[in-house]
C-alpha cells in the first residue's frame, strides 16, 4: 500500500492542477445550461494533501504550546501515538491557515452582541484569532502561576490540571468579549479530535493511528458482503483517501 503512495499523490496533484483551469474562467458569471447534461472531463475537485513541512499560522512558541496540549489531550500509550506524533498540531496549524481559521464561510456581520447559550458563539474573533489570543493568555496564566515556566515546561500532571481547569471553568483566562475560557478549551478539544480522526491527508491521524485504534476501516466503500454477518468484527484494516484504491482491493 505504502509503495503506491508517491505515484498516487503525483496523479492527484496533476488532477488538481487540471481542475484549477476551469475554476479560473468559471464562477464569475451565471452558468446557463440548456439542453444537455453538463460534463467536463477532469473537472473534479480532489483534496490537496497538506505539505508536511513548516508552519503556516502558528508561531514557533505557539507550536511548542500546541504540541504539548495535543499530547495531553491524546497521550501516547499502547493504543496509539500521542497527539503530537499523530500530527494534530500540524493539522491545527493548516486548518487555522485556511478557510476554517478565517471563518470565511460563517456569518461575520455585526452587531456582535452577547448571546444566550442557545444562540451559539457570538464573538467577533475568527478561530485563528481565538487561538492567537487564547494561547497567549494561557502562557501568561501559566508563567504567572509557575515561576515563569511555560506550559510545555510543566510536568504532564501539571499540564493535565491546567487543561481540566480550563475545561471545568476553574481557570479564567483574559480573553475577549464573547469568547470564554471554556469556549477556548472546546475549540482546542474539537480541533485536536478532528485532526486525530480525520483522513491523514489533512496532517493528523498519521498512519491512520486512530482508525486502527478503534477499528474504523476509513475510506472503504463496499460492505455488501459483510452487513449481514452479525456479531463479527470486520476483517480488514483501514484505508485512507491517499492510500486509496489499492487498499479497496485487499481480500482476506
Amino acid at each position: 500500500m505504502l509503495d503506491n503512495r508517491p505515484l498516487k499523490m503525483c496523479r492527484r496533484r496533476f488532477l488538481a492542477s487540471v481542475a484549477a483551469l476551469p475554476a479560473l474562467t468559471g464562477g464569475a458569471f451565471a452558468h446557463t445550461m440548456p439542453h444537455s447534461l453538463p460534463w467536463s472531463p477532469f473537472a473534479g475537485d480532489p483534496p490537496k494533501p497538506i505539505n508536511p513541512l513548516g508552519w503556516y499560522f502558528l508561531t514557533p512558541s505557539e507550536v511548542i504550546t500546541v504540541e504539548a496540549i495535543v499530547d495531553r489531550l491524546i497521550p501516547a500509550d499502547h493504543l496509539s501515538p500521542g497527539g503530537k506524533d499523530a500530527g494534530c498540531a500540524v493539522f491545527i496549524d493548516r486548518q487555522l491557515a485556511g478557510s476554517f481559521g478565517k471563518s470565511s464561510h460563517l456569518y461575520n456581520k455585526g452587531p456582535f452582541l452577547p448571546g444566550l447559550p442557545t444562540q451559539g458563539y457570538q464573538g467577533e474573533l475568527t478561530p485563528s484569532g481565538r487561538y492567537r489570543i487564547g494561547l497567549k493568555a494561557l502562557e501568561d496564566h501559566v508563567r504567572a502561576a509557575n515561576a515563569g515556566k511555560s506550559f510545555a515546561e510543566l510536568t504532564g500532571e501539571q499540564q493535565d490540571a491546567i487543561l481540566s481547569g480550563l475545561e471545568e471553568g476553574k481557570i479564567t483566562l483574559k480573553l475577549a468579549p464573547g469568547f470564554s475560557t471554556r469556549q477556548f478549551f472546546e475549540l482546542l478539544l474539537q480541533n485536536t479530535m478532528e485532526g486525530f480522526f480525520a483522513d491523514p491527508l489533512y496532517g493528523g491521524n498519521k498512519d491512520m493511528a486512530s482508525w486502527k485504534m478503534i477499528g474504523f476501516p476509513g475510506a472503504r466503500y463496499d460492505y455488501r458482503d459483510y452487513v449481514e454477518k452479525y456479531n463479527q468484527p470486520y476483517p480488514h484494516g483501514p484505508v485512507s483517501i491517499m492510500s486509496g484504491a489499492p487498499g479497496w482491493n485487499v481480500k482476506g
Binding site: 460534463w39 491524546i74 449481514e228
Partner: protein, 587 residues
C-alpha cells in the same frame, strides 16, 4: 438597471427536489421552463467522486456541500421577549445549497405521513375533543390521503424507494407497517439488507408487542431503472450518506433520478450561481410579473414569467415571500396574518443507548436510511390515557461509523486523556441505540418573520426564527423515551442510558433539518398562506413548494411528503391551471 431577459412560461426559484420535480412535470406538459439556482452545478461523477467523497472532515464537519451562513444566515431566539441573534454557523439544522439542494445530502428516509396526519385537527377533535390539544394551533392540511396517495406512489417509483408495504388496497401485508395508509401497490424495490442492530431491535420490539418493519429507504437495495428510465446502482452500505453526495448512484437525488432526462429537454433551461432577490408583482398585487436575480459578479437581471414556482428550502421560501410582500405576514400578538405562521420543527426524544460487552456492531457499514422502525407510538396511537397528542416513530439501524462525530463512551468517561482513549477503543463497535423521530406541533409564538437588525450581503433582512418546543411535545418525547428504555432493557445491555427532552431549543448541536411551516397549506385563507394546491391565496401565479406547507410536523422525516405535495401541485398546474390561469380555489 437590471437587464430584462426574454419572458418564459415558468420560472422556478431553487433547484432541489421540488424544483426538479416541477420542472420535469411542467416541461412534460409542454411549458417552457427556466430554473434559477444560486449554488453551483453538481454531478455525481465529478462532485461526489468515490476517490475523495469518503472524507468526513471535508463534507460532514466543514460541510462543503451545504449552504454556508456567509451566503444566507438566519437569526434565532426562543421566545418573543428575547433578542434574536444570527446563527453565525449553522448547527441545529443544515440547509442545502447547489443543484439538487438537500436532496443531495439527505439520509434517504422516504416516508408517507399517516392518513390521519392530513386531517389532524378533525381527527383529534373527533377522537378526544378539541380540549385535548388546547394551546396548540393544529390544523388540517386541506388535502386528504386518498387524494394524494398516487403522488406518493409516483415519487417512490422515481426514487426507487426500497421497503416493504404494510397495507395494499386495504389489506395488511406481513412484514410491513400495519399503521400506514392504504397504498395502491408495493414499493418498487425490496428492503435493504438488515444490519445486526436492526435485527436485535426487530426481535425485541416484536416480543414487546410492537410491529417493526424495514424503514422505507431511498438508498436503494438493487440495481433499478426508474419510472423515467434513469438507471441507479445498488447501495454498498459505505456509511458516507447524510452530509455526502452518493458516489454510487444509489441514493435518490435529483441528479440520480430526474436530471439525466430533464437537462436534455429543449423546453428546459437551468441557470446556476444566480440568486433570486425578489419576486416582483404587478401593481394590483394579484399576480407576479418577474423575478430579479443577480449573478456572482453582481450583474442584475429581471426575468419575466407567467408562473413562478418557489422551490427553495422551506425557510427560504418563507423569507422570499416576506421580502416580496406575497401574503400577509403573521403577527403573533394578534394571531392574524399567514406568512410565518405555524413554524414547527421535529422532535427526537430521549431514546435509549446501549453498550454491550458481548455484541460487536459494525456501525461504519451503514446507509442513511438503513434501519428498522415501529410506528406503534406514532401520532395516531391511543392518547386517551396520555397527557399529550402526537408521537414518535422509533427504530434502530446503522447510518455511519464516522469517528469525528461518533465515538461513544460510557457515561462518566473523561473527554480526553488516557482514560478517554481506553474507553473509546473499547466502546466503538459495541453500541446500539433506539431512537425516535417525533411530531412537532404548532403553538402561538412559534413563528417566522424578517429580522429587524441583521441583513445579508445584498442588504436584505435575514429570516428570524422564534421557537421553543411546546410542553405537549416535551411530554410526548419523554413518554416515548420511557418506552424505548423498556424495550432496550429486554436486550440486557451492560450499560443503558437515556436522555430527557427539555425546553430551550438550542441552535448549536445538530438535531434535524426538518423545519416545517411558515407558508402552510389549508382551506381557509385566514389561517393558511397557500391553498390545497400550494397556490398562494393572494398572488395566484405563485406556487410555494416545500415543508413550509406543512401545518404541523408529523413523526417522520418529511422528504417523501414534500415530494408528494410537489407532484400534487404539478398535477393541478398541468391539468387545471394552464387551461384557466387564476385561483384554483376561491377564497
Amino acid at each position: 438597471m437590471a437587464k430584462l431577459m426574454p419572458r418564459r412560461d415558468v420560472v422556478i426559484v431553487g433547484f432541489g427536489w421540488t424544483g426538479a420535480i416541477l420542472a420535469q412535470e411542467l416541461t412534460e406538459a409542454g411549458l417552457d421552463v427556466l430554473a434559477i439556482e444560486r449554488g453551483p452545478w453538481r454531478d455525481t461523477a465529478t462532485d461526489f467522486n468515490i476517490g475523495y467523497m469518503p472524507d468526513e472532515l471535508r463534507y460532514a464537519i466543514r460541510r462543503e456541500l451545504f449552504l454556508q451562513p456567509s451566503q444566507e444566515a438566519i437569526t434565532m431566539r426562543n421566545d418573543l421577549t428575547q433578542t434574536a441573534l444570527p446563527m453565525r454557523d449553522y448547527g441545529s439544522f443544515l440547509p442545502g445549497a447547489g443543484v439538487g439542494g438537500a436532496g443531495v445530502h439527505w439520509n434517504g428516509f422516504s416516508w408517507r405521513y399517516l392518513a390521519s396526519d392530513f386531517i389532524l385537527k378533525t381527527h383529534l377533535t373527533q377522537k378526544y375533543g378539541a380540549k385535548k390539544f388546547d394551546g396548540l394551533t393544529i390544523q388540517d392540511w386541506g388535502v386528504t390521503w386518498d387524494e394524494i396517495e398516487h403522488c406518493f406512489d409516483k415519487f417512490e417509483y422515481v426514487a426507487g424507494v426500497s421497503g416493504k408495504a404494510g397495507v395494499i388496497k386495504g389489506v395488511v401485508q406481513p412484514g410491513g407497517n400495519p399503521f400506514e395508509g392504504s397504498r395502491s401497490r408495493e414499493y418498487p424495490n425490496p428492503p435493504l439488507k438488515m444490519p445486526y442492530s436492526s435485527s436485535l431491535f426487530t426481535k425485541a420490539a416484536t416480543e414487546y408487542g410492537l410491529h417493526p418493519f424495514p424503514s422505507p429507504s431511498a438508498n436503494i437495495s438493487r440495481p433499478y431503472v426508474n419510472s423515467l428510465g434513469v438507471a441507479m446502482g445498488e447501495c454498498t452500505y459505505c456509511g458516507y450518506c447524510e452530509r455526502f453526495g452518493c458516489a454510487n448512484y444509489s441514493k435518490a437525488a435529483p441528479q440520480t433520478t430526474i436530471l439525466p432526462v430533464l437537462m436534455k429537454k429543449d423546453n428546459f433551461e437551468l441557470r446556476t450561481e444566480s440568486e433570486v432577490l425578489t419576486v416582483n408583482l404587478h401593481p394590483d398585487g394579484k399576480t407576479a410579473k418577474s423575478v430579479t436575480y443577480v449573478d456572482t459578479s453582481g450583474n442584475e437581471y429581471e426575468q419575466p414569467a407567467d408562473l413562478v414556482i418557489m422551490a427553495g428550502y422551506g425557510l427560504m421560501n418563507v423569507r422570499m415571500m416576506l421580502l416580496s410582500r406575497i401574503g400577509k405576514p403573521y403577527d403573533p400578538n394578534t394571531n392574524e396574518g399567514v406568512v410565518g405562521r405555524n413554524y414547527c420543527y421535529q422532535t427526537g426524544g430521549g431514546g435509549a443507548s446501549m453498550i454491550f460487552d458481548d455484541k460487536r456492531f459494525n456501525p461504519f457499514m451503514g446507509a442513511g436510511a438503513l434501519s428498522s422502525s415501529a410506528h406503534d407510538f406514532n401520532s395516531d396511537m391511543d392518547h386517551s390515557k396520555l397527557d399529550f397528542v402526537g408521537g414518535c416513530s422509533i427504530g434502530s439501524g446503522e447510518s455511519n461509523g464516522r469517528p469525528i462525530q461518533g465515538r461513544p463512551t460510557p457515561p462518566g468517561t473523561p473527554r480526553w486523556g488516557s482514560k478517554w482513549k481506553d474507553a473509546t477503543a473499547k466502546t466503538y463497535g459495541h453500541v446500539m441505540s433506539i431512537g425516535g423521530s417525533g411530531s412537532s406541533y404548532a403553538q402561538r409564538g412559534n413563528y417566522l418573520d424578517l429580522d429587524p437588525t441583521y441583513t445579508d450581503n445584498f442588504g436584505r433582512p435575514l429570516l428570524r426564527i422564534t421557537f421553543d418546543f411546546p410542553d405537549n411535545d416535551i411530554r410526548m418525547q419523554n413518554w416515548v423515551g420511557e418506552q424505548c428504555v423498556k424495550i432496550a432493557k429486554t436486550l440486557n445491555p451492560k450499560i443503558l442510558t437515556s436522555g430527557k427532552a427539555r425546553k430551550g431549543w438550542n441552535s448549536v448541536p445538530y438535531q434535524t433539518t426538518h423545519n416545517t411551516g411558515g407558508a402552510i397549506m389549508g382551506a381557509d385563507p385566514k389561517t393558511s398562506a397557500v391553498n390545497r394546491y400550494l397556490q398562494n391565496w393572494d398572488v395566484s401565479n405563485v406556487f410555494v413548494m416545500g415543508a413550509c406547507a406543512f401545518p404541523q410536523n408529523s413523526a417522520m422525516n418529511p422528504t417523501g411528503t414534500v415530494a408528494a405535495l410537489a407532484y400534487w401541485a404539478a398535477e393541478a398546474i398541468t391539468t387545471r391551471y394552464i387551461k384557466n390561469p387564476g385561483p384554483l380555489v376561491q377564497a
